[in-house]
């Protein structure tokens, strides 16, 4: 059984998406249990794979028994062994938490919604697990197309915002495909390990450089790296809360995984950092991304949109960390993939609970929430602490590695940007807390606006949220183990 985990990871959500869409016609109540079971199997396989990787090292799984480079192989090493459980567990927890919200928002579209959700997770898990550059493109588009469908189910402005995302996402994926085409011209292979074996003698070739840069630009478009971020805030803000709390934590993080995979596995770190000699410029772009993300978040009077700009800033953290060109920076970037997925999930789930109860997420709607929804707001406090970077939450530790990396690379601009963005996050979140602590003014129209008791979201929404909040602290406490047993082996030894 455990030999088949890599296939189960992708096949089970894919097939159950079909089953869910059929079950949706028969009885809508069947959809949720099937979806949870499918993602449960995926999460189980992902955790099983991580344990196997820790035990026996890199796993090669040949799909259909065709051996690479002819067939498609799945490679599970320490890097995607770490990202897979994060993706599958985030998707599972978010699915459970949003059952009520989905029933409230689209009572007649439950079947299609779960189908798209499962296909999206299939795509994301496939991107992370695959070892084939073209296969990655196909899965990228599966994740993107389902993502457009999910994001468009939202407010009035959602379809237009999603359409803008669709143009940018398609251009990004096409650029990636074009880069893979150039790699194919020079190496004649699509298998990542095979390309990596054939490339080193060709590193001075202009086609290889073009391929790398074109792939990077495509991936940056997809992850909303600063000058290319314009599609993200509106698309994520106007979507329904179940979709935005799936997509905001996972899509950008999975794309960062793809970037790191290209830098470390397909190409070598020496090529990315030494031969190309563009890393300094990219770190400066990341600095601008962080600063602009923080400043634009500060300008928002709307909780969900503020959080989307924080996502833009966090992308800057990870791109900058990865391009610092030293071990600490890369460790910080990989650790931050895990941490940022979890803390973005936490804060977006909080928004989901607030929308479920209050039907709004503008700052005016948040008044008095600490009294009404204490558990949800408690989770928001932990999520905010993690984004600010207060120990012992996990956000502190990845930021620590990033700052150590910045110092040892001598890149003080990046260090200053990290500290600036932490300080801005303090302002952002304490402004929200302040609004949430105070009650709305009693209106004079005779409504009984009495400060009543608790009005918390349903238990099925609060419990997963609290689990995520606890995970934020647990991951923080076990950072040392994650770094020493997993991430350390994910980075090639040649990188110091």
């Amino acid at each position: 059984m455990s030999e088949q985990y890599p296939a189960l990871l992708v096949v089970v959500p894919l097939l159950s998406a079909l089953v869910v869409s059929i079950a949706g016609w028969i009885n809508k109540r069947l959809c949720f249990p099937i979806a949870v079971a499918a993602l449960g199997v995926a999460a189980w396989s992902a955790v099983g794979l991580l344990l196997r990787v820790l035990d026996e090292g890199v796993i090669v799984y040949k799909l259909g028994g065709w051996s690479p480079p002819m067939g498609i192989a799945y490679y599970i090493d320490y890097l995607n062994g770490l990202v897979l459980p994060v993706v599958s567990i985030v998707a599972l927890l978010n699915l459970i938490a949003n059952k009520k919200g989905i029933e409230q928002q689209f009572p007649d579209k439950i079947g299609p919604f779960y189908t798209l959700y499962l296909l999206m997770v299939t795509g994301l898990l496939g991107i992370v697990v695959t070892g084939d550059a073209f296969n990655l493109y196909v899965l990228l588009e599966i994740a993107a197309l389902t993502g457009y469908g999910l994001l468009a189910m939202g407010e009035e402005r959602a379809p237009l915002a999603t359409l803008n995302y669709l143009y940018m996402g398609t251009i990004g994926a096409c650029f990636y495909l074009l880069g893979v085409g150039y790699l194919y011209i020079v190496t004649g292979s699509l298998n990542m390990v095979d390309i990596a074996r054939l490339l080193p003698p060709l590193y001075q070739s202009k086609a290889v450089m073009a391929a790398f840069i074109i792939c990077m630009v495509g991936v940056w478009l997809k992850m909303a790296f600063f000058p290319l971020h314009a599609w993200l805030p509106n698309a994520y803000t106007y979507a329904n809360s179940a979709a935005s709390s799936l997509i905001a934590p996972l899509v950008t993080k999975v794309m960062i995984y793809v970037m790191i995979r290209l830098m470390l596995t397909v190409f070598t770190p020496e090529f990315a950092f030494t031969t190309l000699a563009v890393s300094n410029a990219i770190v400066w772009l990341a600095v601008i991304a962080i600063v602009m993300g923080a400043v634009l978040a500060l300008a928002e009077r709307n909780l969900k949109k503020m959080l989307t700009y924080i996502v833009v800033a966090e992308v800057g953290y990870m791109v900058g960390g990865a391009w610092l060109g030293n071990r600490d920076g890369m460790t910080g970037a990989i650790l931050h993939i895990v941490n940022d997925a979890l803390m973005t999930l936490c804060v977006f789930m909080v928004v989901g609970n607030i929308v479920y109860k209050v039907k709004g997420y503008a700052f005016e709607d948040l008044q008095g929430l600490f009294r009404k929804m204490p558990f949800t707001m408690g989770a928001l406090v932990i999520g905010a602490m993690s984004i600010i970077g207060v120990p012992p939450t996990c956000g502190f530790f990845s930021k620590w590695y990033l700052i150590v990396g910045a110092i040892s690379a001598g890149h003080y601009g990046f260090m200053a940007a990290l500290i600036f963005s932490s300080l801005v996050s303090v302002v952002l979140f304490f402004r929200v807390f302040e609004i949430c602590f105070y009650e709305p003014f009693a209106d004079h129209h005779g409504h009984d606006n009495h400060p009543g008791g608790m009005d918390e979201a349903p238990v099925s929404m609060v419990v997963p949220l609290l689990i995520v909040a606890v995970i934020l602290i647990v991951v923080g406490l076990y950072t040392g183990d994650i770094v020493n047993h997993v991430i350390q082996f994910a980075i090639p030894e040649t990188m110091v």
Binding site: V138, E141, E156, L160, Y167, T170, C174, L177, Y184, I185
Partner: protein, 132 residues
Amino acid sequence: MTDLISMVVAKYNYWIYITLMMIGLYAIIAKNNLVKKIVGMNIFQTAIILFYVSIGVKKGATIPILEHGHGPDAHHVVHAVDYINPLPHVLMLTAIVVGVATLGVALALAIRVYNNYNTLEEDEILAQIREK
């Protein structure tokens, strides 16, 4: 000047795909009508499909089907030079499917936008959003 012309002619497939790609990109950026933008996006995707198809071509080669691939006299040597490379073409079948699916999703979204705002001109939609 002749150098430039010979460079363009020798690699004409790349020039064609880049030109098409830029036409598509221009439409996405500059056009005001949502459907025109979507068509531009599709031209962009098609340009890359053409690029892939063109890299599989060899001069003087034929389609990759072995004439006597099966049966009793199947023991002759196959010269790879005589056949075009089928792999990029097969890959593009998948990319065409992706392109069609993207176009479908984009047009469906455009219909949703039209139902909301009764227009497909982006400036008019933005004006309506600003009024609210």
